[in-house]
């Protein structure tokens, strides 16, 4: 029994595909992890290179902001030359 509220997107009711022929091998006639190492590992490096210049520059900039703020805070916490001259 299928509850009626679940009748929307199910197999047999997903999309109309015309003019396309699909071929596939039976799972019993192919290796399960074909190319997992030989193609998968180079793919890791390819995916890393594609995202490197989007991810790394903002993170580097964030680190620079953090480092500069911490250095400036340490400087402001120290005594400045002439800070207490009025007390002499």
């Amino acid at each position: 029994m299928r509850p009626s509220f679940l009748l929307r997107k199910e197999f047999g009711n997903l999309a109309v595909i015309r003019g396309t022929v699909k071929y596939h091998l039976s799972p019993l006639e192919q290796r399960a992890f074909a190319g997992a190492i030989s193609q998968g590992v180079p793919n890791i490096f390819w995916r890393f290179r594609q995202s490197f210049f989007y991810v790394v520059p903002p993170m580097l900039l964030s680190y620079l902001v953090y480092y500069t703020a911490e250095m400036e805070h340490d400087r402001l916490q120290r005594k400045q030359p002439g800070q207490f001259d009025h007390e002499k």
């Binding site: 029994m1 929307r8 197999f11 964030s62």
Partner: protein, 375 residues
Amino acid sequence: YKASRFSPLMSVVRHTVITLPTPVNISTWWNFGSLLGVCLAIQIFSGLVLSLHFTAHTDLSFYVVIQSFGDVYYNWWFRALHANGASFFFIGLYLHVARGMYYGSYVFKEVWSVGVVILLLVMASAFLGYVLPWGQMSFWGATVITSLFSALPIIGGDVVIWLWGGFSVDNATLTRFFGLHFLLPFTVAGLAGLHLFFLHDQGSSNPLGVSSDYNKVVFHHYYVLKDLVGVCFFVGPLLGLVYFNPWLLGDPENFIEGNPLVTPHHIQPEWYFLFAYAILRAVPNKLGGVVALAVAVLILLYMPFSPQTAIKGLSFYPWGKALFFSLIGVFILLTWAGAKPVEEPYVVVSQVLSFLYFSYFLLIGPLTRIQDKLL
């Protein structure tokens, strides 16, 4: 004979996690939904066990929590699991929301709206739970956050007294916080079911942002196994913290019993609230800070109504991607700034970062639509 053909419940289970049509190309970023469900189950289970030995009273809570470590078998484990489970819950939440922002999942308006409500309830639940051990940070965190409601015009003072159940954070506050902390996770569980219901109406999105109706597979075994792998990678570090460094993410101030007469030098919430805390403190005006705090989370509700792009998500929008990862950097910096004292240059840095945080939501729509018009 198959049970699901005759049982409505098994039919729902079958359509939800067994034969559910799922895109063939969803990545690890789609694991966080199930991970959050696992987190919720861990928190409810460990919380139930802890509640068996907890007493919500200002004179007793602190000592009951500490004493139960030694007296109740494995209570140290359940407490460490519950405390660190909360942190991992928020790691999962923020990554889940980030996935939604990056891949344009907010076009599913109902799913997104219910998700934002879940986020707010989990934040409320975490805040309430942190008060229960009645340490210094528990008491003063409760005082600071509940006092924010006094910024409301006209009714603010009365609202705060009503919330407290008295004229300060005291026993009445602790007992009602325990009750609410017990109740809210079950509300979250119900809303999570609603979240899934709306999601399964349209089916999951995918990293390419195009319709996946042409290439779907059944959820079981593919994504049952993928989600199990995700659970192992998620629960592994959680248990690592529980066994080897349970207080890494905690505040040592909370090992001192809550004292209304002694104010800690640095009142700060747990790490997952620090970005909002930084935004709250960045605004010099009290009401303005409270409004900024609320808008920092509620602005997520604006995203379904922001200008839509030709292709869903940011996968094919280089400037959008750069802006998105800048937002990630801003979020991390806001978390750092929220833990800093109110001194220069942290004040100015917090204000600039808060401005940049809100600017993302205003800029991302126009920036991506410009690319649509140029191409």
